[in-house]
């Protein structure tokens, strides 16, 4: 079933909307959630919560792209659950690594969280990513949006893990410089 029809089902308040969403996107949502949580039970819970959130969000929302709409919800729910994990000291998976890698991108002298508006930062990151060569952009998004492992990314794009790591390292440095240049500094 195509996305527009599935969204129509939500608008019609047909319970089959969730069924069709699950049929088409459960694999996608599970992939995102599993990369963060590495725990099947929690993944299942996050994916089911994603359907419920979607049911509550549409209407009034009318997403342009259902996949990324669902993906964003799954990712946020999974990251939230991951926070619980770390609080309970039972976290695992790619999130910890991704977080530590991204630490270097943030200008270090002040607390950016308090200084910059979130939306402006998003816009800046969008601008940065759009300017990147396609392969670098995709690999960055795979790593830091989908939380895919370096091994998986390297395998899928036919490169060694070291090459993938160094490409990500360079991109992170470029992002750091870009953010500083755009005024998100220190």
């Amino acid at each position: 079933m195509d996305d527009s029809r599935i969204i129509e089902l939500y608008w019609e308040r047909s319970e089959n909307a969730i069924n069709e969403t699950a049929k088409k996107y459960s694999k996608y949502c599970r992939y995102i959630s599993y990369n963060i949580l590495h725990n099947n039970e929690d993944v299942e819970e996050c994916v089911n919560d994603t359907y419920l959130r979607t049911w509550n969000a549409i209407p009034p929302k009318n997403p342009n792209c259902l996949a990324t709409f669902l993906g964003k919800i799954t990712r946020n729910l999974s990251l939230d659950k991951y926070k619980q994990y770390t609080a309970e000291k039972r976290g695992s998976g790619q999130t910890e690594l991704a977080l530590s890698e991204l630490e270097d991108c943030i200008p270090a002298r002040s607390d950016v969280e308090q200084v910059i508006d979130e939306q402006i930062l998003v816009k800046a990151i969008n601008g940065f990513l759009e300017a990147l060569p396609k392969i670098k952009r995709i690999i960055f998004v795979r790593r830091y949006w989908y939380l895919s492992s370096i091994k998986e990314i390297a395998g899928e794009y036919g490169m060694g893990e070291n090459k993938a790591k160094s490409m990500l390292f360079r991109t992170r440095n470029e992002l750091k410089k870009y953010l500083e240049k755009e005024g998100f500094t220190l």
Binding site: I18, R75, N76, L99, I106, E118
Partner: protein, 298 residues
């Protein structure tokens, strides 16, 4: 943590950028290294030699019928007998469908109808307490789960791929029905032509009376009778071409639902060719059902 903030912020980037990197739909084969390519002829020779030594003597002993694809455990996945039918291992998302925006009532498709007819003993409101989940299964899975004997259908000629799902009770996780859909498409253009969904279930998990009312395939004295196709209720405006055959025997149910797309010439619908395809689809649907029923009675 600042990196955590950034990770959340990256979560809000443009949809187009996220979509571009979608690992599920855009999976691409890994580029082969040059040195690996150079070794390929050697590897191929070695593989042939190993095949000759170890595998070929076993071929006649593989207990799988012609036309069945084995899963990772060597069990055959139900894809029927393929006289002239060619299976392709492709994602159904690659098959191009005709866009249609017709409003179809819930229950139009048999998979929805079956959900509506499920005996809901759990009290769960959503989807009548049941849900279809994508899941591969084998002929043995169906037979042992539903305690029925099933026969592989003789598939229509053409290029096709399949998808499978099971109807699961949300509370108990018990599987109450199985569905395999065979999608036929044009090999060159990937354009969808028609599809046949075969459902297996037992009456006791559903509203048996309602299903009996839908039955339009019966057997008397070894003769198979097919009455008119079941007309879907509550259909309005233009609808896709869909027909169902419903066969019940000894508490077991087999339903085959066929769907066909119109034939489009440029931006116009070719009415004559479309009707021809619908007629052919109906014929294939009847042959499919007969291939299952006849074998059941022999």
């Amino acid at each position: 943590m600042k990196s955590e903030k950034l990770l959340y912020t990256i979560g809000m980037i443009d949809e187009g950028i996220i979509k571009e990197a979608n690992p599920i739909n855009t999976a691409r084969p890994a580029r082969k290294h040059t040195w690996l390519r150079a070794l390929m002829p050697v590897a191929a020779c070695a593989a042939i030699a190993l095949l000759a030594i170890f595998a070929l003597p076993q071929v006649n002993r593989i207990p799988i019928d012609d036309g069945l694809v084995a899963d990772g455990n060597g069990n055959p996945i139900i894809i029927g007998q393929q006289s002239g039918a060619i299976y392709h291992d492709i994602d159904i998302a690659q098959i191009i469908r005709q866009p249609f925006s017709d409003k179809l009532k819930y229950g139009f498709w048999f998979e929805q109808k079956l959900m509506m007819m499920a005996k809901n003993e759990t009290g769960i409101d959503i989807n009548n307490g049941v849900i279809w989940e994508e899941q591969k299964f084998t002929k043995n899975d169906v037979e042992s789960s539903l305690s029925i004997l099933i026969v592989d259908p003789i598939l229509p000629e053409g290029d096709y791929t399949t998808s499978q799902s099971v109807l699961v009770d949300a509370a108990t996780k018990k599987i109450t029905a199985y569905r395999t859909t065979y999608y036929y498409f044009d090999r060159n253009t990937k354009e969808f032509q028609n599809s046949f969904s075969i459902f297996y279930f037992t009456e006791n998990n559903f509203n048996a009376e309602e299903i009996k009312m839908m039955q339009n395939v019966s057997e008397t004295g070894g003769e198979i009778q097919i009455s008119d196709f079941v007309s879907p209720a509550d259909v309005h405006v233009k609808m896709p071409h869909v027909n169902k055959l419903v066969f019940l025997q000894n508490g077991a149910g087999i339903v085959i639902e066929a769907e066909a797309d119109v034939v489009v010439d440029g931006s116009n619908i070719d009415k004559e060719k479309s009707l021809e395809r619908f007629k052919e689809t109906n014929g294939q649907l009847i042959s499919l059902m007969k291939s299952i029923c006849k074998a059941s009675f022999n």
